[in-house]
């Protein structure tokens, strides 16, 4: 099937070359970082994880959300999703690849990365995160690829594929649960030390991932002759709506616990994020922007007329993505480190090379996504014709 990725219109090649240019720029910045060390980033001893780990967290969610199309199809036999399960799986693949790269570029000593395997440490959550993410990648590659080849040959996928698809369902939940455990088990980091962290992660994943998938479906429909389907998009929009409501609800639960109990450590990070703490308020406008987009998305998703209209739905999905990205891709990590163990506030902001490396990895993810989607769509077009 790979050959289908080698035949495309000019716009396809143009897009890939554009992404390649970004990848190259990111790679250049990474070589600079590799040489100089992580001091070229905005991180420091107080905010010791930053933009990279935040993107990892966000993208694990996107990867996990693939299950939102796989589960209804395989467990509830919801046939309509059969048309787009492969899109969900391929989205998961590209997201996991990005996750791996974001961990890699965050390492101070990337050449020693194999130490994680050479000295397996089952007490470390990072060890388990490595295992669940890699397994999830393999599961999706195997299931997605084989289901698509079966479709191309006009036969039903085999038993092994089906079994692995079933396994991939709880596995998707596990990857984001384990990722939440990276944070939720650390003593002395109040913003992270919360039992609802995994639930929050899953809810934000299951709104942001399907929201991205809806946008991708709309793009696929526009640029190819394959239509992911009206019903499919409508069902997805329901999932996004419920998950976003849960996501905001869980966040409000955190606010209640912090501000009704009035325990300073529990309130500090929220104050830092939404009002500024000790004169540091760099994230305040961002967090309120996220709040604004969350409200817009909730209105557009809850009102049936705007949810069913694909134009307003697209706006709602974009709003969900912006709100959840700011929450997880900025607020969660920086907030978790603020204030520091000495109750002091240190500012963090990613530097230009740090942002460029991040963009480079996103570009690589989209490159993989484009190629995989091209293959999937070519097969679908072929089958219809």
């Amino acid at each position: 099937m790979l050959e289908t990725a080698l035949k495309g219109r000019q716009i396809y090649w143009g897009w890939l070359i554009f992404l390649l240019a970004l990848i190259g720029a990111g790679l250049g910045c990474y070589i600079y970082q590799f040489h100089e060390g992580l001091r070229i980033t905005g991180m420091g001893r107080d905010v010791s994880w930053g933009f990279y780990i935040a993107q990892l967290t966000y993208l694990v969610g996107v990867a996990a959300s693939g299950v939102m199309v796989v589960l209804p199809y395989y467990i509830h036999d919801y046939k309509a999703f059969g048309k787009i399960t492969v899109l969900g799986e391929f989205l998961a693949i590209s997201a996991i690849v990005m996750c791996g790269l974001f961990v890699f570029v965050d390492l101070g000593n990337p050449v020693r990365v194999m130490n994680i395997i050479m000295y397996p440490s089952p007490r470390s959550i990072l060890f388990w995160d490595m295992i669940v993410l890699n397994t999830y990648l393999l599961l999706n590659l195997f299931v997605g690829w084989n289901a698509l080849s079966a479709e191309r040959k006009g036969v039903k996928y085999g038993k092994v594929v089906k079994t692995l698809a079933y396994i991939s369902i709880p596995w998707a939940f596990s990857i984001h649960t384990v990722t939440a455990f990276l944070y939720a088990g650390l003593p002395g980091r109040h913003y992270w030390l919360t039992a609802i962290m995994a639930a929050r992660f899953l809810s934000s994943a299951f709104c942001s991932g399907p929201a991205l998938l809806i946008l991708l479906c709309l793009i696929v429909r526009r640029v190819t002759s394959f239509d992911p389907g009206k019903e499919q998009i409508r069902t997805l929009s329901g999932i996004v709506a419920y998950a976003m409501i849960l996501n905001v609800f869980f966040f409000l639960l955190e606010l209640f616990t912090a501000f009704y109990s009035q325990i300073p450590g529990h309130m500090h990070t929220f104050e830092f994020l939404f009002a500024g703490l000790e004169g540091h308020g760099r994230l305040v406008p961002w967090m309120w922007t996220a709040t604004g987009f969350a409200i817009i998305s909730l209105i557009l998703l809850i009102v049936p007329a705007t949810r069913r209209n694909e134009d307003t739905l697209a706006v709602a999905c974009a709003s969900v993505i912006i709100a959840t990205w700011i929450d997880k891709g900025l607020g969660l990590i920086i907030g978790g480190f603020t204030p520091n163990p000495f109750d002091r506030v240190t500012d963090y902001w990613p530097t230009a090379p740090e942002v460029m490396i991040t963009i480079g990895i996103y570009a690589l993810g989209f490159f993989i996504l484009t190629v995989f989607y091209k293959i999937a769509v070519s097969v679908k077009e072929e089958v219809v014709a």
């Binding site: 060390g37 992580l38 020693r112 994680i116 050479m118 959550i125 990276l182």
Partner: protein
Amino acid sequence: MGLDRRNFLKIAGLSALFGLGGKAAVDIFAPGELEASMEAVPLTEGKRWAMVIDIQKMDEELMNKVTKACHREHNVPDLGNPKEEIKWIWKEDYEHSFPGQQHHYIGDDFKQGSFLLLCNHCSNPPCCRVCPTQATWQREDGIVMMDQHRCIGCRFCMAACPFGARSFNWGDPRRVLRKEDLKKLNPDYPTNRDYPTRSKGVVEKCTFCAERLAKGQIPACVEAANKVKENALTFGDLADPDSDVRAVLRKHYSIRRKPELGTEPNVFYIV
């Protein structure tokens, strides 16, 4: 020399554990010195090393002296930038040493006074729990140790440590210290040729001077403090009921940083 096979293996293993090699290892094996240290000071036999810091006996000058002794012993550079700062032992005010404990009516002595902070060598260390490569681990004598040759620089331990006791080499200290402005701050870096300098991208921290303990010496900070004032810093084995630290802790009321987190710090403060 009275070095039998068993002891030889023990010391060889220990020095490998500390990541000691070259001159440092030779020093340990220097005949005579080794035997003397093994017999005279049984420091290598501790079960739970701990430190008691008597704040009453401390002043700013002494704290600076202690810090300098440690940082020179371990080639801890001054990088001139708080974000990249490497800290093994350092000064901090009361409010930020014991966040949440302060109140408005505390005396000026406390408010303005400083505390000496270092790695707590917790009995239940979260940093070791989270390390994905066992580059940091707890030794049998309680010391929370660090292997800079295995560390991949993921900084999970820094996120897990509730005491801010871990520092990361954001750049290559050997290289950045060649820059003019930093050269001025560290004219004689590396200050101790017998102790390794670090490479970029690894985490480091106080090791309770494991390399000195192996030679039968007390930690550099304790040595420096005791030169000025007896028992300002007390170091010893908590597992031994007759040790100095146990005696001091029996006699005085002491506090620890963030005991509610259950990490069981082994650095105590007499206030």
